[in-house]
């Protein structure tokens, strides 16, 4: 670059800037149209993360009292996390539930594998269905949170279940209930504190509607978890 003499006039610089902006826009051309959400390109901008980003976001969910998560993902919500955290959970539920059933003395062991379709339905409906409903409700009540940010927030809140599932290996009923309650508290707090900033702009009743939806869904998720997947205890 020539720092000494300003060779280009201002108009030329403006023209260059516009043409370079055009090139950038063509590169990031978003699909428009009614059925755009059915194309792959529509979702590509939401996978713009690296592995360190993902790990950082997961770590953020374990410290619910620091409301940094929303700021972390605001500019760059990603869908990789929600999808694959839930897939990992499905595998872990099956594996841990089967490990619990292993009993060396029994001749013909019978393992449960019907958890796979059940867990898939449960986790994916809660991870993607709840944010759908929540985002619609919030848009209706006037909160400025995009749909994908809500999915991202919800999907990452599922990562609290990762260590909980591993800990569910132990057979002690009291211990299981304790960690389930802890998980419920952690993820609900995480969601509420991160939404707090946005919700404070609303009236009290509207705020509680949203908090109510969030807490109910988390409660049903954790109850289902405990009662269906991990209630089997060997004699």
């Amino acid at each position: 670059m020539d720092f000494g003499i300003q060779n280009q006039t201002d108009e030329q610089q403006q023209a260059n800037k516009e043409s370079s902006n055009q090139n950038v826009n063509e590169g990031n051309k978003k699909q428009t149209g009614f059925c755009a959400f059915l194309t792959v390109e529509f979702y590509t901008p939401y996978f713009n993360v690296t592995e360190t980003d993902v790990i950082q976001r997961i770590q953020g969910t374990f410290l619910p009292l620091k409301p940094d998560f929303l700021n972390l993902i605001r500019g760059n919500p990603d869908l990789w996390g929600p999808i694959w955290i839930n897939a990992t959970l499905i595998f872990m539920i099956t594996a841990i539930a089967n490990l619990r059933q292993i009993d060396e003395e029994k001749e013909n062991q019978s393992f449960v594998i019907s958890y796979v379709p059940q867990a898939t339905a449960l986790l994916y409906i809660i991870a993607f269905g709840t944010p759908l409903v929540l985002a619609a409700v919030m848009k209706f009540l006037g909160v400025d949170l995009s749909f994908f940010q809500t999915i991202c927030l919800y999907g990452y809140s599922m990562s609290t279940l990762l260590p909980i599932t591993i800990l569910c290996y132990f057979q002690n009923e009291l211990f299981l209930w304790l960690i389930i309650v802890y998980g419920f508290a952690n993820s609900s707090l995480f969601l509420i504190i991160n939404l707090k900033e946005e919700l404070d702009k609303l009236q009290i009743q509207k705020k509680y509607i949203i908090i109510g939806i969030v807490v109910t869904m988390q409660l049903s998720l954790y109850l289902f978890y405990k009662l269906v997947f991990f209630s089997y205890v060997t004699e």
């Binding site: 792959v40 979702y43 590509t44 939401y46 996978f47 993360v49 690296t50 592995e51 993902v54 869908l79 990789w80 999808i83 694959w84 897939a87 990992t88 595998f91 099956t94 594996a95 089967n98 292993i102 060396e104 013909n108 062991q109 019978s110 393992f111 449960v112 594998i113 019907s114 796979v116 379709p117």
Partner: protein, 202 residues
């Protein structure tokens, strides 16, 4: 062109020349040709030394191989399903079948969404062929599994899982930009882990 020397085509370009003879050959010959193609591709995918041309052979994708391995795995695992699981045989078969195809679909979609420019079916084909080691371990465990303690069963499972994962990871990792490699590779790893777990449990 002299076709007599080209009785056993090694790739699709040679097959094109033989198209005119398809209707005249016996059924067994057609089937054997397809089986030979599958065997060739299997060797290519699973034995890394064969890949001298950096995976170009994979452009001739086919879904017969994956289908055969998927069906074999599902049938092997549902064979003893009544005694080893609390679900019925058809449940096990359905779960495995759906898991393989939906899993391959989602893993490929994931690679595409992360920015990889790969043909969809090429990737599904590769993932399907790499299910073959899982097949081997499922058959081993189905026959001798009831006589072995759990820990001994783990050995072939881990070996075959590592073999599958290693074969497919090289291809998948080369598809996406370097800073997203682990994000594309982890789902492949999870997919084969899931299948290995089933072959161990059932």
């Amino acid at each position: 062109m002299d076709y007599t020397n080209q009785k056993h085509p090694q790739n699709y370009s040679q097959m094109e020349d033989l198209k005119t003879l398809d209707l005249e050959e016996s059924v067994s010959e057609t089937i054997m040709r397809d089986l030979r193609m599958i065997a060739y591709k299997l060797k290519y995918v699973l034995i890394p030394k064969e890949q001298e041309d950096n995976g170009k052979e994979l452009r001739n994708w086919d879904l017969w191989g994956p289908l055969i391995f998927c069906l074999t795995l599902a049938m092997t695992l549902s064979f003893k399903a009544d005694s080893t699981t609390s679900s019925s045989k058809s449940d096990v078969f359905a779960i495995i079948f759906v898991l393989i195809w939906v899993g391959a679909f989602v893993v490929t979609l994931n690679a595409q969404l992360l920015g990889g420019k790969v043909s969809f079916f090429q990737s599904v084909c590769l993932l399907g062929y790499c299910v073959f080691p899982i097949n081997i371990e499922a058959i081993i465990i189905a026959f001798v599994g009831s006589y072995l303690p759990f820990v001994v069963k783990l050995i072939p499972v881990i070996i075959c899982f590592a073999w599958s994962a290693y074969s497919s990871v090289g291809f998948m990792a080369s598809l996406v930009p370097p800073h997203k490699k682990k994000l594309a590779v982890y789902p492949v790893f999870l997919f084969y882990l899931f299948l290995s777990w089933f072959s161990l449990i059932v």
